[in-house]
Subunit: 220 residues, 2 copies
DNA sequence: CATTCTGTTGTACATGTGTACAATAGTGTT
DNA sequence: AACACTATTGTACACATGTACAACAGAATG
């Protein structure tokens, strides 16, 4: 209405819709790191993006749409990074690839307190926003499948028989996620190197037949 | 001010402060199950308790204090339940106790989608409320210690040597938490029975020496 | 019954939320 | 230069939040 107030014509950069949308998505993720769940408020995100709050409805149909896009970008980036990691080691043996994957999972930037904060917020949202829950399931399935493929390669190279690849992959995935979760909640409990060691021992056990019962379990 | 409005003198039950406080705490947990993070609003909690919203500040110094008390009660109940479970099997061997503990962890009421919802909310809060983070660490340390004691007993009975009990406990705890987490996020991925089986295989590997490298890791 | 104490209610208020929208300002076209 | 287009801003509004507080109501005591 009253256009009396003038103040700062600062930041009046006029960007293309794509640039602005991308900037808002990045700002949303940064804002979560800074302020947790509260960082997803329209005003917090737009302030992080250096932009007026009224601009968000202009580029997204609503706040929820922005959140979904942010989650989508986050998961796609992660999946891309995983794939690049594995492809960079395409010349190695299956066992080396699997062990490398474990090692990298407990190093920066994957093992990162900021990262965990973001995940917590989106896990919470996935409890009420089905779109996010669906995205989460898709990515998780892809990761477990990748792990299972690696394990199948390891078992083949080692001439292991009667291995329940699905449960072996679910177990390793759970072990890694659980250690990642507990380290994120309390980094003082154990070191990332110790977490890596524990997971490598799972592979050891698999190779030595110590997880033998996994071979006789009937998958449902 | 205006006491014109009368409406319902319903629910005008006059309870002792202890009863009312306890009722509000229980209502808070129930409200989280129903409405997630939003269930922790003063109005939502008080409605769940069948009480006016203005009553909360009368029994608690503020909303945060109620939340902390609710979390304290939740964790204390869980720890009590774990102890009762283990003491009920005090006559069994260490291995049987450990396997029973694993089995019960993937049955009702521990493995419960409602339960997970509550945990998610409190994990989120622990990122900003240090009181909750402190409580969480204490309980987690107790649980890991209990697991470590069980594993030490198992190793002694089986005459295992050079086992890094601490890492073995952290690993099993991580494996259980990770599977619990992933099942809660997506119950369709695998069954509770399969999760139990995977964890029992960890114990198998420990007993058979398949986790051998855990014995040579130096704890930091 | 009168009095006192306090658990309980409803209202009020300052603040924060998502979003609609008119006004403004930058950009490109003719 | 005049124009159209639209990214951007500031304001407004309806609603939710936490909590303070005056008014009420039930119970115990005299």
């Amino acid at each position: 209405m009253k256009r009396l107030l003038d103040s700062n014509p600062v930041g009046g950069l006029r960007l293309t819709p794509e640039e602005r949308r991308s900037g808002l998505i990045d700002a949303a993720l940064r804002s979560i790191i800074k302020h947790g769940q509260a960082g997803l408020s329209v005003r917090a995100v737009c302030q992080e993006a250096g932009v007026s709050a009224g601009l968000l409805p202009h580029h997204f149909p609503g706040k929820d749409a922005l959140i979904v896009e942010a989650y989508r970008k986050l998961t796609e980036d992660i999946y891309t990074q995983i794939n690049e990691t594995l492809e960079a080691a395409s010349g190695s043996s299956s066992e080396d690839k699997l062990r490398l994957f474990i090692e990298l999972s407990f190093k920066q930037p994957v093992l990162n307190a900021d990262f965990f904060r973001i995940w917590l917020v989106f896990w919470n949202l996935s409890q009420q926003q089905s779109e996010i829950a669906k995205l989460r399931d898709e990515v998780n399935r892809k990761v477990v499948n990748s792990l299972q493929t690696l394990i199948e390669g390891v078992a083949q190279d080692a001439a292991l028989e009667q291995v329940n690849f699905r449960l072996a992959a679910i177990g390793l995935s759970g072990l890694m996620d659980g250690l990642w979760l507990e380290w994120s909640l309390n980094p003082a409990g154990f070191s990332p190197e110790e977490a890596t060691e524990i997971c490598q021992c799972w592979v050891d056990a698999l190779l030595s037949g110590g997880l033998g019962r996994l071979a006789t379990v009937t998958s449902s």
